[in-house]
């Protein structure tokens, strides 16, 4: 099985504006993720999980080292190409769901596939299917504020999946959910992973998520301390 992404000797240091104080968020990270993986990146707060996901998703650039996603070296992309890259290759699921508040659940779910230019009937068909799989058929027309936390995060999952990305990056997707809802959500994603062959990478410090992952990478102070297949 091939690798969907690889980072080599990636460093990321943040320098606060107008000071010499530097934070080393990632310290010489090298890592490959297999296609179809269901991977958790775990570690305490401040260990660099979000930074790593942002770099993999083309939202941030490393200070040094190379990042290759789906055979594309991200260092070679300009801003417009990076935006295009995110649109077509990456699905994002955020801790705070981050739905567009003026759009309905259905409109949020189809947002990215619509930007991709997918035909309307395909979007509608696939969205119906996914909402059914997520147990959300009744909520297609609701606005985000009319949905519970778990329901909002399911819409976010639908949005990421409908775009048919190469890689779904989920930054602490269960952190704002109660354990039962969080567990159900991860199970749903596991099903998507299995049936659609989608690659998921989670940043998490939720034990339950770590247990359900097929591979667990532990980060500490920007360094990988363990990498366990399970």
């Amino acid at each position: 099985m091939g690798f969907i992404c690889a980072v080599n000797n990636v460093n990321k240091t943040y320098r606060f504006k107008g000071s010499d104080v530097e934070t080393r968020a990632l310290n010489d990270i090298s890592l490959s993720i297999e296609e179809g993986g269901f991977v958790a990146i775990a570690g305490p707060s401040g260990s660099g999980k979000t930074t790593l996901l942002n770099i993999l998703g083309g939202l941030d650039a490393p200070t040094s080292g190379s990042v290759i996603v789906d055979q594309t070296d991200l260092a070679g992309l300009n801003a417009a190409e990076m935006s295009e890259f995110r649109l077509h290759k990456i699905g994002f699921i955020f801790q705070a769901y981050n739905l567009i508040s003026t759009l309905s659940a259905y409109e949020n779910a189809e947002y990215v596939s619509l930007l991709q230019g997918a035909p309307k009937d395909r979007r509608l068909f696939e969205a119906r299917q996914i909402f059914k799989d997520l147990g959300m058929e009744a909520y297609l027309k609701r606005r985000p504020t009319q949905l519970s936390a778990g329901q909002q995060q399911r819409v976010a999952v639908a949005r990421a999946i409908l775009a048919r990305p190469k890689l779904i990056l989920a930054d602490e997707p269960t952190a704002n959910l109660d354990s039962r809802t969080g567990s159900d959500l991860i199970d749903l994603m596991a099903v998507m992973n299995k049936t659609l062959g989608l690659t998921f990478i989670f940043a998490t410090h939720d034990k339950m998520v770590m247990e359900k992952a097929h591979r667990l990478i532990l980060l500490h102070d920007g360094k990988i301390t363990q990498d366990i297949a399970q």
Partner: protein
Amino acid sequence: MLTFIKIAWRNILRNRARSFITIAAVAAGLCALIFLKGFVDGADHQMVANYTDLFVGHIQVHKAGFQKSMGLDKSINNEETIAAVLRKTPAVAAFTPRIKEFALISSPESSSGILLIGVDPERERTVTTLHKKIRAGSFLSAGDNDKIVIGRQLAENLKVAPGDKVVIMGQAFDGSIAASAYIVAGLVEAGAEDLDKNLALITLRAAQDLFVMENRISEVAVKTHSLDDIDATAQNLRDRFGRKNFEALSWKDISPMTYQWLQFDQVFTSLILFIVLLVVAGGILNTILMGVLERTKEFGIMLALGTKPSQIIRMVAAESFFLGLAGAGLGTLAGAGIVLVCGRTGIDLSALSQALNNFYIGSVIYPLFRPVSIAVYAGIVLFLSIAISVFPAIKASRLSPIEAIRS
């Protein structure tokens, strides 16, 4: 694209209070612009109408060179040639022949230099409003060849009243001394000092007899159907008469000072309108910018998901366009409505100022309804509301997704 229009539209609905304030501000600003413009146009129109109606007329036809140096030597002996052309010009509503010459007026008490006008009492009424400005006695009637109407101020200086006798002296067409006595029929108060001090009117026949001119005249004063017709008609008459024989002058040529004053007034008004426009623009900028800042996180999400910066710009611009369109629509309706209603009823400023009469405006102003200028202002405001959104739109499109989402 439709999605961004949809999102823009829903953003407007989402923050109804802010949208309402923006729309109201645009509408109020545009309404004020339209009203001010209508008011000033109305005042200017009245000023020109009253000024020209009083004495000058819209157009004057003279023998060529008369305007430069007025004199009986530049009188017209073929009035019928001019009359024939004027009768065939559709824009001409009425015209009247006159004699115009400087002379000396004397009473037992005093004497004074005057501008003596010989008028056809009946036809003069169709071109000017002098007959309505009689403050004592009466205006001339046909056949009143031994009567004279003089300015009220002049009568005071001469210490004469209606019924008194005055003597006019001047130089006749043949160079001899012209002198004759007249009974004061009435006193005219035009409200313009130069006229009230210097004007004296006798009948055309009396003037022709006084100056021994037979049927010669000095000028034909013309009234057109509308002030808007004046320039074109004057040009038309110039073309027909040819420059060598006659001069056809609009009131602007005859009273360049008055015309310049009017132009200054319009520049000044434009400046005020421009300032109002700036205030309106500032209001739009403020609300759009606030709306953008409020949604920083949402723009961050959109950018993170792969939305192009240009799409964000279009979305913000569309939002601004909707607000501008609603505001401009309401403002146009309100402004046009107010101008139309006030144009009927008039706005009475007599409580505020008596001075307006001195500018020929009159104390009741009727705003002028001009669809073209209303459309122009509506267009400018609409354009501004889009142009102004460019800055906040670019700001939104350049956000860093990570920072925006974290905020």
